[in-house]
């Protein structure tokens, strides 16, 4: 919404602007008040991991969403390739017997 130097109005705009160095990208995981596990909530930029946690606190927990924060630099996440989704996932589509829905679960067990 504003030029890179808008925070420094007294700095003259020069013809050759220095390259804008971005901080690394971090993925943020928050464990909610009642959640058992951390869930991915989004990403943000920060210079280091401490700053990433502080930024996550300000960006993602300001409405009392969480009790624990994990951050991991995005480059450390290994991901499956979308182009391989055929061989990776389609074979399981036809194997309904892998779902444990053929058992009667006694009421005494409660919620599973």
């Amino acid at each position: 919404m504003s030029s890179p130097n808008s925070a420094y109005p007294d700095t003259p705009e020069t013809q050759t602007k220095p390259k804008r160095h971005e901080w690394p990208l971090w993925e943020v995981f928050i464990r909610g008040q009642h959640g058992m596990s951390h869930r991915h909530v989004g990403s943000l930029h920060a210079a280091d991991e401490e700053m990433a946690i502080k930024n996550a606190r300000d960006v993602y927990t300001r409405r009392n969403e969480g009790v624990s924060i994990w951050v991991v630099e995005a480059r450390h996440i290994a991901a499956s390739s979308p182009s391989e989704k055929g061989p990776l996932y389609e074979p399981s589509e036809s194997k309904v017997y892998r779902h444990p829905t053929f058992f009667d679960i006694p009421d005494e067990v409660g919620a599973m």
Binding site: M1, A7, H45, M51, N55, D58, V59
Partner: protein, 255 residues
Amino acid sequence: MAEVDQAQLFEFLCRMGDNTLVLGHWVSEWCGHAPVLEEDIALANTALDLIGQTQMWLGLAAEVEGKGRSADDLAMLRDVWDFRNVLLVEQPNGDFGQTMMRQFLFDAWHLEMLGALAGSSHDQIAAIAAKSVKEVQYHVERSGDTVVGLGDGTSESHSRMQKALNLLWPYVGEMFAADAVDNAVAAAGIAPDPAALRETYDARVGAVLAEATLSVPEDGFAHKGGKSGFQHSEHLGHLLTQMQWLQRAYPGASW
């Protein structure tokens, strides 16, 4: 313990509330303008914390005054000479570095002050302080980290931070200089003697500034006149015209 004069208690509460109000307003002006999105949200959060604390301090001040005024009346309908904030918090935002230096120099005092007030003999003051001190603990961590990051950063950021420190350091002394109001609330066990907070403040601020490779100016001169209302700087008037214009132009306007 000495009974406190209610007029002096009112003065003291206005000092606490006006500090957070004036600083909160300045910080809120960064909303949408901070150098990066994450800082933008963090600054907005800080501003909202400070305005929230203002509601509590000025709310209690209005109650103590007992003239039927509300926190909003005190915030929006007083003029410069009735404000009791320290001069430090009314200094303008400047660049981002100057804003963060001002924030850190205030936060470090604010933390010590609220920590002491949490043990106040006045129950409502103790409760407000106990709630606020958790917010301020985070403020000072964040502003301190930024002072270190920028001070010990590039030569450009370092020189801006040193410039900001040179500019703002003469406003630090006022926070620790006791006057009749401070002495009265201290005698009643309501608030600490401001001078007693200086040692811890100097230790914390000194450590952060050393890590930030910044040098504290040696001149011990300290401006004064803000918290007594004797002589505010011109910046406060400009801030109030921005902050108060809506209530002035449309009296009683509300959401």
